[in-house]
């Protein structure tokens, strides 16, 4: 299974060679794997240093001259630390650009909460003219980036260190959700890497005679509400599975689209606050209930 960060580096070379407007700016991470881009696209790679707000400002300035900026560093340091720069210098000024992060939600599980980021998707959705994506595989990133990078949009790509490992049979298109498993009793809605847990839970439910429909979202904005409404109209039960803030993430998005259209039961598995402590990504998932068994138990309670 290809690592998304490596795919990011490879995609930058591929597109950078085709499109000389592409400029990559990093905040002193990933410089090893981006050597290829630096060599192949000479003069368009900048390891600016550890000064994220200024990197975002610079990217806006670079865009003003007609180039296409790609800003890359760890999620909280761009989205939370430099949020005003994204909001004003890209959003308010109606400039387009690309932000590609790693580390969210708690991929840096051993580094503690300073390196976690649960609200990036929500924050980026607030920015006017943004497209917000959390691809769960290398192929998804490559395809989505190619479709979006030169659009007049503010594109946010949150790269996971834990790809879901599922090969999507449907076409990958920005803004389009994917029905992974057809079912009639309950809708399990997953974003990014959590697709894997949703599928395992659906398989467990199947053994008990329940039929779960699994919907997958690699793009949260624009959001494919039609796919969701069609499914929940049928099942009348929904659980969202997301490694995002419980206060404003996938669950809230779903409610917005379903509100007034369908009577349904709903539940959410998400992150409710700082996930203190250390360990592996898997261990932190378990801490907040992002496990197949927890999804299964919640579904059973809802169905019974």
């Amino acid at each position: 299974m290809k690592n998304l960060r490596q795919e990011f580096a490879d995609t930058m070379i591929e597109i950078g060679l085709e499109d000389t407007r592409l400029v990559v700016m990093v905040g002193d991470i990933s410089h090893g794997i981006l050597k290829g881009f630096a060599q192949n696209c000479s003069g368009r790679y900048f390891n600016i240093g550890i000064c994220e707000p200024t990197i975002v400002n610079m990217a806006a300035g670079i865009r003003k001259t007609g180039l296409i900026p790609v800003v890359h560093t760890i999620a909280p340091f761009i989205v939370e630390r430099a949020y005003e720069q994204i909001k004003l210098d890209f959003g308010y000024q109606r400039l387009s650009g690309n932000f590609i992060t790693v580390g969210g939600a708690f991929d840096y599980a051993q580094l503690g909460c300073s390196h976690h980021c649960y609200a990036d998707i929500s924050l980026m959705c607030h920015i006017e003219n943004s497209q917000v994506m959390m691809p769960g595989s290398a192929e998804e990133f490559r395809t989505l980036f190619r479709q979006a990078y030169s659009e007049e949009k503010i594109n946010y790509f949150k790269l996971t260190e834990n790809p879901h490992g599922i090969e999507l049979k449907n076409e990958i298109v920005v803004g389009r959700g994917v029905k992974i498993i057809e079912g009639g009793d309950i809708t399990l809605v997953a974003a990014g890497p959590q697709l894997r847990n949703a599928i395992f839970a659906a398989e467990k439910l199947k053994k008990d005679g329940w039929s779960a429909e699994v919907l997958y979202y690699h793009t949260l904005k624009p959001f494919d509400g039609e796919l969701l409404v069609d499914s929940v109209e049928k099942t009348r039960n929904m659980i969202t599975i997301e490694e995002l803030s419980s206060h404003d993430g996938l669950f809230n998005l779903c409610l917005r689209y379903l509100n007034g259209k369908v009577d349904f039961n709903s539940s959410q598995i998400a992150i409710d606050g700082f996930v203190h402590g250390y360990g592996t990504y898997q261990e932190l998932c378990e801490k907040v209930g992002l496990t197949p068994d927890n999804i299964y138990q919640k579904a059973l309670r809802m169905l019974k």
């Binding site: 400029v23 200024t54 300035g61 670079i62 865009r63 003003k64 001259t65 007609g66």
Partner: protein, 258 residues
């Protein structure tokens, strides 16, 4: 010292009940000089690829920018008359998406200068010889992004970038160790200190360097007077964001005409 532009600023602010008169009086002479003698632009093609870029990083001084853009043909009488009104395009901070000639929507301090740095880098990448000038406040120099940007500009050798600091003493009210020259030198910039209300000194400063695309960036520290030209506006008192009454407007105009 340009009195006519100052009268226009005062009238605009008085009419709309919004604006920063002293900050605008502090920088209006420099901006006027930039548009008359330094910046290259084409009124028939305002967004021409060959234009020079001027970014007002201290966005609250924008009344000064507006009257200069009006003087040189970017803005109409109607624009100035409708300043800060819903019927116009000019507000208390400039919006690049609706105001011709405004290169950056500033207001929150510490954004315009690092954006200008990005413009300078974008031009350098493309080997274009446009010049980039950012005007920032000395109070704005309290923002960390100013020094992040200063550090980067020197390291990337962005000689096509010039910063002008409106050194009117706002910063030293809070932090009296106001050694701006030493700070900019320490960050590797060429530093030129002038009287920012003297046409000759502004002119001489710009004769001292070329905007080399691969060179040391230059900063002009303009020793300005906040509220320059009107005795009771000068300094750092209540007038920072105060709107003149009818009588006060008359006095402002009277002093400026003397």
């Amino acid at each position: 010292m340009n009195s006519d532009l100052r009268v226009l600023i005062a009238k605009m602010v008085h009419k709309s009940r919004e604006g920063h008169i002293p900050s605008s009086f502090s920088i209006v002479d420099i901006i006027d000089f930039l548009y008359s003698s330094i910046l290259r632009y084409d009124l028939k093609d305002i967004n021409s690829k060959n234009r020079d870029y001027f970014i007002l990083s201290k966005g609250h001084g924008c009344a000064a920018l507006y009257v200069v853009l009006h003087k040189y043909g970017f803005l109409s009488d109607h624009d100035l008359e409708h300043y800060s009104l819903s019927t116009g395009i000019l507000g208390g901070h400039p919006d690049m998406t609706i105001v011709p000639g405004v290169e950056a929507s500033t207001g929150s301090l510490g954004h315009g200068f690092p954006t200008a740095l990005g413009v300078a880098l974008g031009l350098k990448i493309q080997a274009m010889n446009n010049r980039v000038i950012a005007l920032l406040g000395d109070g704005e120099c309290h923002e960390g992004t100013i020094w992040e940007a200063a550090n980067i500009a020197n390291n990337l050798r962005l000689g096509n970038l010039c910063a002008i600091v409106d050194w009117n003493g706002s910063a030293s009210q809070l932090m009296p160790r106001d050694n701006l020259g030493e700070k900019w030198k320490a960050f590797g910039w060429n530093v030129w200190t002038i009287d920012g209300h003297s046409g000759d000194e502004i002119k001489n400063a710009f004769h001292k360097f070329d905007f080399e695309i691969d060179g040391t960036p230059n900063v002009i520290l303009a020793k300005n007077i906040k509220g320059k030209g009107v005795s009771f506006l000068e300094g750092h008192g209540q007038w920072h964001h105060k709107i003149p009454s009818n009588d006060e407007l008359e006095k402002i105009i009277e002093e400026l005409k003397e």
